[in-house]
């Protein structure tokens, strides 16, 4: 819970990247999700992973990024590198086989090949591009600002501001939600619930009980908030103004141009086949 809060707080830091318009960062993030779909070759995906890390250093979030990805990288990427080669069916130099050759009928199946390993690693790197960029995006973007931006644009396109406001409210609600969870945990500890004792299932069972008061208090808070908003005439007018408006600066245009260039390069590499792993 507190990890989530930490990540959200990180979006409020001050740096040249944090200062960028949230819309521009959203475009960059979408580009970084599309690129690994277009490009499979590691000579392009490695620099893309590094790009997120360089930007993270500029944004001074590299330490947090390292902390969060320290668990994700080995678990997710290791899993892909270990398992993906078994699904690679184009043959190649066999390192080992899952089922020994002497086993009747299915002997020799599940070959782990050098080519499969390269393919698996390339796939893991593609995932790494998306994961690193996503984490970087979350660490460098104030989610409330982003939701406000989307709200503004949504209204401009003729939509209701109520839906994006719902998203903003949920982000604002999160710190108090986390705080309440902490208090409930303390209340349970005070009643001799040894939350950290026992096996995974027992711990899980104990933690589930915490959600009863959490849901109750959250529903009450949500209900109170609805009343408070209605008392302040929320929804009385079809359009509203925004306290904070997000204008595009020269830096924003530069970052946007860079993102679009990356996308064009990705499309070019895909069409020419240069970005595709020759396996």
């Amino acid at each position: 819970m507190s990890l989530l809060l930490e990540i959200l707080e990180s979006g409020k830091m001050k740096s040249p990247i944090h200062k960028l318009n949230p819309r521009v960062k959203l475009v960059w993030w979408i580009v970084m999700i599309i690129l690994p779909i277009l490009i499979t070759h590691y000579i392009y995906t490695i620099p893309l992973v590094l790009l997120s890390w360089v930007l993270a250093v500029v944004a001074k979030v590299h330490k947090s990024l390292g902390r969060y990805l320290l668990v994700t990288y080995p678990a997710l990427l290791g899993f892909i590198i270990l398992t993906w080669p078994f699904f690679y069916d184009k043959g190649g130099r066999v390192i080992f086989t899952l089922i020994p050759k002497w086993v009747p009928l299915i002997g020799g199946k599940g070959a782990y090949t050098v080519e499969g390993l390269i393919y698996g690693t390339a796939m893991a790197l593609r995932i790494a591009v998306a994961v690193t960029a996503s984490m970087f995006f979350v660490l460098c973007t104030d989610m409330i600002d982003l939701a406000n931006c989307i709200g503004e644009d949504f209204q401009r396109l003729g939509g209701s501001y109520k839906y994006p406001y719902m998203v903003v409210s949920s982000f604002r609600f999160l710190p108090s939600f986390v705080g309440t969870f902490g208090t409930i945990k303390e209340a349970y500890l005070s009643r001799a619930v040894a939350l950290d004792k026992g096996g995974i299932i027992e711990k899980g069972r104990k933690y589930i009980t915490l959600f009863v008061p959490l849901i109750d208090t959250s529903l009450k808070s949500a209900y109170d908030m609805t009343i408070a908003m209605e008392l302040k005439a929320f929804g009385a007018v079809p359009k509203r103004t925004f306290y904070k408006t997000f204008k595009m600066s020269a830096g924003d245009y530069l970052f946007l141009a860079f993102s679009i260039l990356l996308l064009i390069a990705g499309i070019y590499l895909r069409i020419t086949g240069k970005g595709v792993l020759p396996l």
Binding site: T180, T183, I184, A187, R191, V193, T209
Partner: protein
């Protein structure tokens, strides 16, 4: 009286660097009724959360019945120190009042026969017997607060820490609850009450600790602290009107400072007779 809690040079710094406690020294003896007062953010709740190990000292030591709280879990300390939270809804879990009260003793491994006896006794004491089968969330705020106290008392703690027990309750409910704590105190329990309700403090507490900016500003018998009006003002605390009137008339009235209206009325009556 036996010393049950000893706090030595206690500092507590929250993640983010907020210094909530700055060198608190304190001893609490068996059978005391203590009120801890101070403005919001003065460190009251942070201090009492050290008594059952919910918080551990950043610096300094806290001993509860001689046990260093850094070496004991809340689970172990909860047998000695019961903690009632400000919002009863943060601890309600069960679907009947009976199970809610039985929850703590079950966690402590009490036999089911004993639990039955304890629950019956505690519900009677807190006048909750008629709600034994009622789902706790269906009770009113005052009753839920009493249920929260009941569910902690059922664990038979020797010390009861009650964090702002009267928030959002009418005067009748407030008095009922604190009168119950007073009764417990007379039976030998140690009561530590964190509150902003100065009227209740002057009516029931025997000792008052005033906190300001993470330090103890005043600590002493209730009359002594209440009549230290200048220092209380420093902590933005206004004593009850009865104290202020007595203070203003101190040149005319005899006897020790009054904390109750009846005492003040009697003193004024005696002064008028003279």
């Amino acid at each position: 009286m036996e010393e049950i809690i000893r706090v030595e040079g206690l500092w507590h710094v929250y993640p983010g660097g907020v210094e909530a406690l700055r060198g608190v020294d304190l001893t609490i003896k068996q059978g005391e009724f203590i009120a801890i007062i101070g403005q919001n953010g003065s460190g009251k709740t942070t201090l009492v959360k050290h008594f059952n190990g919910l918080l551990k000292p950043t610096r300094g030591k806290v001993y509860v019945y001689g046990i260093d709280t850094t070496k004991a879990s809340t689970y172990e300390l909860s047998r000695k120190v019961g903690y009632v939270f400000q919002n009863p809804d943060h601890q309600i879990y069960s679907d009947s009042v009976y199970d809610e009260v039985a929850f703590g003793p079950r966690n402590l491994g009490f036999p089911e026969d004993e639990i039955k006896e304890i629950v019956k006794h505690v519900l009677e004491e807190l006048e909750l017997s008629e709600y034994v089968e009622t789902p706790p969330f269906m009770l009113g705020k005052g009753l839920r607060q009493r249920l929260a106290v009941a569910s902690i008392l059922a664990m038979k703690p020797e010390v009861l820490v009650v964090d702002e027990p009267t928030t959002g309750q009418d005067w009748k409910e407030c008095v009922k609850l604190v009168e119950f704590m007073d009764r417990l105190n007379k039976e030998g329990h140690t009561i530590i009450m964190v509150t902003h309700n100065m009227k209740l403090v002057s009516m029931f507490a025997k000792r008052v600790i005033v906190m300001k900016d993470g330090r103890i500003l005043l600590d002493g018998p209730t009359e002594e602290v209440m009549y230290n009006i200048e220092t209380l003002r420093e902590a933005y605390i206004k004593p009850p009107d009865v104290v202020l009137i007595d203070y203003r008339l101190r040149n005319l009235l005899d006897g020790k400072p009054s904390l109750r209206v009846e005492d003040l009325a009697e003193k004024i009556y005696q002064a008028c007779k003279r």
